[in-house]
């Protein structure tokens, strides 16, 4: 039985939490090592295509990498397969709602076909929903979290903000505690 066939509450009740983390990390690890594109576990191909423009507008690619390069869609798929499996319905319903909103704003166009400025307009129309809040949270978790969960590929998130994950630093840590500036 794969981990996503039982509910989050069920397995939280029977196994230590680390099992959830481990599952998410193993999942990510396998996906990263596979040469061929990895099929999604939870998201349907169509859902993944629709989710793409949403996460890519939350953290756009400009002169630095964005959600696309960080592998956020894969992070979300794994989150929904493991530690956030109870959020699947929120995604299914949220995407439905977004599709409907998209059809209202831009009749006869699918989300995936919208131009970037149309995508932004659509996101502005849904940005106060619980669904958008969840996608934003997942996108940020994936982009700035530990790469072992499948996002933050090549540490693009940490490089963007100047964060380094090290076991040791030495003073001065910043500009103001440097000897000449104290």
């Amino acid at each position: 039985m794969s981990s996503h066939q039982i509910s989050r509450r069920q397995w939280l009740a029977v196994s230590p939490l680390s099992a959830a983390v481990l599952a998410a990390q193993q999942h990510a690890h396998q996906a990263m090592r596979a040469a061929a594109p990895v099929p999604f576990t939870v998201l349907s191909p169509n859902e993944a295509i629709e989710l793409g423009p949403i996460v890519n507008q939350i953290i756009p690619t400009d002169d630095t990498p964005g959600a696309r390069e960080a592998g956020i869609i894969y992070f979300i798929d794994r989150a929904l397969a493991t530690f956030d499996s109870d959020k699947r319905e929120l995604y299914t319903k949220g995407l439905e709602e977004t599709r409907r909103k998209g059809a209202e704003l831009f009749p006869s166009q699918s989300i995936a076909d919208l131009r970037p400025e149309q995508q932004i307009q659509l996101l502005q129309a849904i940005e106060n929903t619980g669904f958008f809040e969840q996608v934003r949270t997942h996108t940020i978790m994936g982009f700035f979290g530990n790469p072992s969960y499948g996002g933050n590929r090549n540490l693009v998130g940490w490089k963007l903000i100047g964060f380094e994950d090290r076991f040791q630093f030495e003073p001065p840590f910043g500009y103001y505690d440097g000897d000449s500036n104290r």
Binding site: V21, G145, F173
Partner: protein, 549 residues
């Protein structure tokens, strides 16, 4: 490690292997007694700790988990408590308890903290009281705590601090950019900054290495053993005596009482959810200010129909929590606050309540960084900033290394209506009644938080912040950490739950030693909780030797 059979009557059964339980275990085992410690969480070791914000901050790997152990919250008695969508009450849930994930701020109380009622008088709508003990009673134990656990700081640097018989055993940790800016600004304002006292090693000490400044203190376990948690310090010493068994994954549900009204041991669920009864001559509950009253309230019997040690109905009452707003500032150059310990400079200028302010309350302010990459990107930008997209991304990229936080650590008044009780409707994954929190800050607490926030903003301005903003989130007015005061210490059995040596007034061989004993709450409680544990253990060992328990 020594292992006892449940049928074996040990000298002391300790519930909770945290900040206080670890100290009690070490002191009692070293004094020659047989000790079993039941810990509801796992026994993690330094090798298990990771720099993983998702695992520890978002998935509660080291703290209570809302899905398995829900708690409910309501503002006042009239409401039906609801389980919040995100965890509200937080406590350490593993061997070492909260001392593993805490920030390690380690402040002694002031002499005046023990006499607030005498100094101030009554506060309407609150139950301000004097402690039955004084700073002088605790001072030798404050010194012992700092020496045994390893605390870094600079004696005398805080002109307001209470007298001390010895300096800190270790010098302060290196100042960070936030500390330099804070020090400069507070001096300009005529205030008195001093190096933050931290339970983190600035130099090698008693077989442990010094802090290497990785930056993962608050919310994380220290893989270097530089943070002076009980996991890294006293628990190994307790085990080394050969008389102490730490029993992890053991979730206590009831303290049993014999026909003579004395505690006989405790029933717990083991890792396989089997019920086990461990016999003991005396029981010491160190389960924190929320779980200790919950356990007493769950320990109902014919003799104690309202729960154990609760004949006056005060178990769970007077809940006090961490109080204080945050203010944030962005500076021109990188501070790189993600490196090293959270806080390096503090002021106590506004610690003492002052009638001129027009309300009861006071507190300290420190300069720190409250964020890791995910939490910063989610919530670290100024209020008017966009929440996603191109501009948001640019701001996150620029501000992460340039932001610092001033945090207030303030008084919280005890009120009878603020309490921990058993939720009548909600059960945890073991079928036990969920923790119900009823809490609303006293208006003076909120006025005080607002007063301190104004000081925080003045300091950020004086520090030359390019942009500074107060963080008055609704969330700051909800209860979260530092769960205190719920089994109040006092001489009068009518108005308190434990006596001055932590013995319950109702059950002679039942002791409560943790944050629940505190009579007033200001600022940073862990130092005082552990100091009280050293003092309680001293007395307990003496009484046990005289067969007076």
């Amino acid at each position: 490690m020594k292992q006892y059979q449940p049928a074996e009557e040990v000298d002391f059964l300790i519930v909770g292997a945290g900040a206080a339980g670890g100290v009690m275990a070490k002191e009692l085992a070293t004094a020659g007694f047989s000790v079993v410690v039941l810990e509801q969480g796992p026994y993690l070791r330094e090798k298990d700790f990771e720099h993983d914000e998702i695992k520890y901050t978002m998935l509660s790997a080291m703290t209570n988990n809302l899905a398995r152990q829900p708690h409910s919250y309501r503002k006042s008695e009239g409401e039906t408590a609801k389980v919040p969508s995100q965890k509200m009450i937080q406590y350490g849930r593993q061997v070492g308890g909260g001392s593993v994930h805490f920030t390690a701020n380690y402040w002694r109380l002031w002499e005046s903290d023990f006499k607030q009622k005498s100094r101030w008088g009554s506060v309407a709508g609150a139950s301000l009281a004097d402690w039955p003990i004084t700073y002088a009673d605790l001072e030798p134990y404050y010194t012992k705590t700092e020496e045994e656990l390893g605390v870094s700081g600079l004696a005398g640097a805080n002109p307001f601090e209470a007298w001390r018989s010895k300096p800190y055993p270790l010098p302060p940790l290196p100042v960070k950019s936030s500390g330099v800016l804070f020090e400069r600004a507070t001096r300009k304002l005529g205030l008195h900054p001093f190096p933050a006292p931290m339970a983190i090693l600035s130099q090698p000490y008693r077989g442990r290495g010094a802090c290497l400044h990785c930056g993962f203190c608050e919310g994380f376990g220290c893989e270097m053993r530089a943070k002076s948690s009980t996991l890294a310090t006293v628990i190994p010493l307790a085990e080394r005596t050969g008389r102490c068994e730490i029993r992890p994954d053991s979730y206590t549900r009831k303290i049993e009482v014999g026909p003579n009204g004395r505690a006989t041991g405790a029933i717990y669920f083991d890792a396989h959810r089997r019920e086990v009864f461990q016999r003991a001559k005396a029981v010491v509950v160190c389960a924190n200010g929320s779980e200790t009253p919950r356990l007493l309230l769950m320990s109902k019997s014919n003799r104690f129909p309202q729960g154990l040690a609760n004949s006056n109905g005060l178990v769970g009452k007077y809940l006090m929590v961490d109080a204080g707003y945050e203010a944030h500032g962005v500076f021109e150059h990188p501070l790189n606050e993600f490196k090293s310990i959270q806080a390096t400079r503090v002021i106590h200028d506004f610690y003492e309540p002052d009638p001129k302010r027009g309300f009861y309350g006071g507190g300290g302010i420190d300069a720190r960084f409250e964020y890791y990459p995910i939490s910063f990107a989610l919530t670290g930008l100024p209020p008017a900033a966009p929440r996603w997209g191109r501009v948001w991304k640019t701001m996150v990229a620029r501000n992460f290394t340039r932001t610092m936080t001033l945090e207030a650590h303030a008084t919280c008044l005890a009120r009878e209506q603020n309490h921990i009780s058993l939720d009548p409707n909600i059960k945890d994954a073991w079928g036990l009644p969920a923790l119900r929190v009823t809490f609303d800050f006293h208006p003076d607490d909120v006025s005080n938080m607002e007063f301190l926030l104004e000081r925080q903003m003045e300091i950020l301005e004086a520090a030359g912040a390019q942009q500074a903003w107060p963080d008055r989130s609704d969330d700051a007015l909800l209860p979260h950490n530092h769960l205190l005061g719920t089994c109040r210490m006092g001489d009068d059995p009518k108005t308190s739950v434990v006596d001055r040596y932590h013995r319950t007034h109702d059950v002679p061989n039942l002791f409560l030693v943790d944050g629940s004993s505190l009579v007033t709450a200001c600022c940073q409680p862990t130092c005082t909780i552990q100091t009280m544990a050293y003092r309680a253990a001293d007395h307990l060992a003496e009484q046990a030797r005289k067969a007076a328990i």
